[in-house]
């Protein structure tokens, strides 16, 4: 079941488009914002609400990088692995994170605190290497700085 709050937010976005299905990506993001990810049940509820088939909606949900169709931890770390960050050492960043968190890319820590994902260029190339935790950008990274920044996310 979608909450009243979710429905309200979906409807206010839907008003921006002449066709109802145009709100599909916004709707997925609105639900994910509150629940962390989009479960099969959530997907069916959203599809029903906006008048699409769940299959069509899933083909959209699985296309976009920022929609999670599997559970994630409380915080999502997105490590940029595009070319400027690669030149500046994003592989070392990733290795450090993997070691420290004990997970590989795509996995969530046992305490459900962090999920580690790769991401496309974050537009922070003059301060590479960079990563995002949830919506926050962190740049000019080295192992010490990473450890410090991660402390902020409980």
């Amino acid at each position: 079941m979608l909450t009243m709050e979710e429905i309200h937010e979906i409807e206010s976005e839907a008003a921006h488009y002449p066709k109802r299905e145009a709100v599909s990506i916004d709707a997925l993001k609105i639900v994910q914002k509150r629940r962390g990810w989009v479960s099969d049940e959530s997907l069916r509820d959203i599809a029903q609400h906006i008048g699409m088939s769940p299959t069509d909606l899933d083909s959209i949900a699985t296309f976009y990088n920022l929609i999670h169709r599997r559970p994630v931890g409380r915080h999502v770390i997105s490590v940029c692995d595009s070319v400027s960050c690669w030149i500046m050492g994003c592989e070392q960043v990733r290795e450090h994170l993997q070691q420290r968190l004990g997970v590989r890319l795509g996995e969530t820590t046992a305490d459900n605190r962090f999920t580690l994902l790769p991401t496309v260029c974050l537009g922070c190339c003059d301060h590479a290497p960079a990563l995002m935790v949830d919506g926050d950008l962190h740049a000019d990274l080295d192992p010490l700085k990473i450890d410090m920044e991660l402390e902020k996310y409980k």
């Binding site: 921006h16 083909s59 920022l66 690669w86 991401t119 190339c125």
Partner: protein, 429 residues
């Protein structure tokens, strides 16, 4: 805005990273251009002509003349309704960080440009298509849009002129292919962002089947200044035929990576050596991608080429987004090619076979080479694959953009590729 004549786009931007808010933007002369247009009696056609003669070329990378694009939109009474304007703020080209700067620091400049562009093409509705990861830009843009509505710069009957424009912010679900004009339109319609076949072009059949102009953030940011100061002034900013200034960036192992607004046509050498401070101590320059990861490499002998849309192709490359990525002699060109090919393979939308199939194959060959499993004949395989990705074989520019850096890497750094195969290892590891 009139206060910074040499750097119209960034001259008023605050160095501390804070946003140029509504009062500050107005104080610096902001929102004067829409007064000139809407209250000064300029016709839509006059606006189009001014931008045309300014020779403003699309800063998203393709360099299409903006005024000409606008002039293709059907206007008048018997035309399809509504007409849409879309600002492409889906900056995802690896190595590119210019639009984020403009969006975060000077959002009202983008909005004012959008209102003028909207008026010129007689648009009813405008969207800013922003990449989802640009969270700070999203916050600042939302606020700026609300401020513009409060002051009646947006909405019905703007400044009493009779012109109305609604502006909405759309946050992307995240996918590189959304940066493609027609992929973006499908994403805005709530679909997978597969690019569309052209023709018909979006200016005739675009968003929801209606006439649509898609303009990049930096392009649209130039528009208020062209209106305020005139086409001739805009021309004078440039060192070449392409009008205006350009936001040039440098990333990689240089002394001072960064972003600078400079005259269009500044040479790569000047940007690299004077602004970025040259290579870090102990490192040598080997080559650079002039404007993001889908532009062809240039090397030392091409560094004096003016970085613009006209001159770069003569040197065998393209201006692209104007944000260059520098390769040094301690970084493996094969590894760099693998990284970029892997990016393109991952972000392929999966529609055209040469792209989804070929990119994955090339990525595996390059990975094998890096791991010491390269085989004689691999370079020929890569070359024939890259040929398959050329324009015309696919709907959009993703695969051609993957071919350009790979083909030029194999041309300029061939010995490095051959060494990987002969020595069964990556010499840089």
């Amino acid at each position: 805005m009139t206060s910074s004549i040499e750097k119209p786009l960034t001259g008023n931007i605050r160095p501390d990273g804070s946003v140029l808010d509504f009062p500050a933007y107005e104080q610096a002369g902001g929102y004067q251009a829409i007064r000139k247009v809407l209250k000064g009696g300029m016709t839509p056609k006059a606006v189009v002509e001014e931008v045309k003669s300014a020779n403003l070329r699309g800063r998203g990378g393709a360099g299409f003349p903006t005024g000409m694009k606008w002039s293709f939109v059907p206007v008048g009474e018997d035309t399809p309704n509504p007409t849409y304007l879309v600002i492409n703020a889906d900056e995802m080209e690896p190595g590119t960080f210019k639009d984020r700067f403009l969006l975060e620091r000077n959002p009202h400049q983008v909005i004012e440009g959008a209102i003028i562009a909207g008026f010129a093409i007689e648009a009813d509705i405008a969207y800013i298509f922003l990449r989802g990861e640009y969270t700070l830009a999203a916050t600042r843009l939302s606020r700026a849009i609300a401020e513009a509505y409060e002051r009646h710069y947006l909405g019905k009957n703007i400044l009493g002129s009779g012109y109305s424009l609604e502006l909405h912010l759309h946050l992307s679900g995240g996918r590189y292919i959304c940066g493609d004009e027609t992929g973006l339109l499908n994403a805005l319609e709530g679909k997978r962002a597969n690019p569309r076949a052209k023709p018909p072009f979006p200016v005739v059949v675009g968003l929801f089947g209606k006439p649509t102009v898609v303009n990049n953030v930096e392009t649209i940011s130039c528009v208020p200044h062209i209106i305020n100061e005139g086409a001739e002034w805009f021309h004078g900013l440039s060192r070449t035929k392409d009008g205006g200034t350009k936001l040039y960036g440098v990333s990689g192992k240089v002394k001072r990576p960064g972003l600078w607004e400079l005259p269009m046509g500044t040479t790569a050498r000047e940007i690299l050596e004077e602004h970025a401070g040259g290579m870090r101590d102990g490192l040598k320059f080997r080559g650079l991608l002039p404007g993001g990861s889908s532009t062809p490499f240039i090397v030392e002998e091409q560094l004096d080429t003016p970085m613009d849309f006209t001159e770069m192709p003569k040197a065998g490359s393209r201006l692209g987004t104007g944000t260059m990525i520098v390769l040094d002699d301690h970084t493996c060109p094969v590894g760099m090619s693998w990284n970029m090919t892997k990016f393109f393979a991952r972000e392929s939308c999966g529609f055209c076979t040469p792209c989804w199939s070929g990119l994955g194959w090339a990525e595996r060959i390059l990975r094998a080479m890096e791991d010491g499993h390269g085989k004689p004949g691999d370079l020929d395989k890569l070359a024939s694959q890259a040929k398959m990705w050329s324009p015309g074989n696919t709907f959009c520019a993703l695969a051609p953009g993957a071919a350009d850096p790979l083909e030029t890497a194999m041309k300029y750094f061939r010995a490095d590729f051959e060494r990987h195969i002969a020595e069964h290892r990556c010499p840089w590891r």
